[in-house]
Symmetry: C2
Subunit: 121 residues, 2 copies
């Protein structure tokens, strides 16, 4: 079966040019930690420490940096509660949820096929 590029095909040239904004978004969203953080927000709001534990292996530095990037992109929203001790939680924005709707089928496929792919001869 042939998958068509459709209107992604730009002229008859490179698909995403070097300074195309798509490259930037791609690097944010498809980054090592970006995907995992987004995934862990698909089932609702999560606190900082929660993400820290749930996204196994992430360092505080990378969590902070990833969240800031995603927030700047308008995919994630940060809410700080004026309490002591401080409580901050993160959630997907509508745009973030929109994105994740397209990403979930992909993630499911990867989850289903990962064992086969990694364990090949």
């Amino acid at each position: 079966m042939k998958v068509s590029l459709g209107r992604l095909q730009q002229q008859h040239d490179a698909v995403f040019r070097e300074n195309c904004p798509t490259r930037t978004v791609l690097d944010h969203v498809m980054s090592k930690w970006g995907v995992l953080v987004l995934m862990n927000l698909t089932d609702g709001t999560a606190r900082w420490g929660e993400l820290r534990r749930t996204v196994e292996g992430i360092s505080e530095k990378m969590l902070a940096s990833t969240l800031r990037t995603l927030e700047a992109d308008g995919l994630v929203v940060r809410t700080a509660h004026p309490e002591v001790p401080p409580r901050v939680d993160y959630a997907l924005t509508p745009r973030g949820e929109d994105l994740m709707e397209r990403m979930m089928p992909l993630m499911e496929w990867i989850a289903e096929n990962a064992d086969d792919i990694v364990a090949r001869p």
Copy 2:
């Protein structure tokens, strides 16, 4: 709207554990160059030099390494023609096409929203 993790939800813990094969596949497939190479194979076979030009900005080293990884994962197949001068082309395997069917909607969304995301205040 709420997007559910469905059967991706493993127990009630981390979504993809640290040594989960999914992490590996994720790093291959969602890598900076992996996506772009795969994209450029969705509309059919391409030769090495073709990819080199089409995937704008990729170095020979990264193209080679990316292709080898994707081939090892069984997502891309390499065909060398015994000619002079040599001709080699790359194409998606059935598994690769299967993957790209899930990835295309995501890429289309990103392409459509990239400008908005990058140009925010």
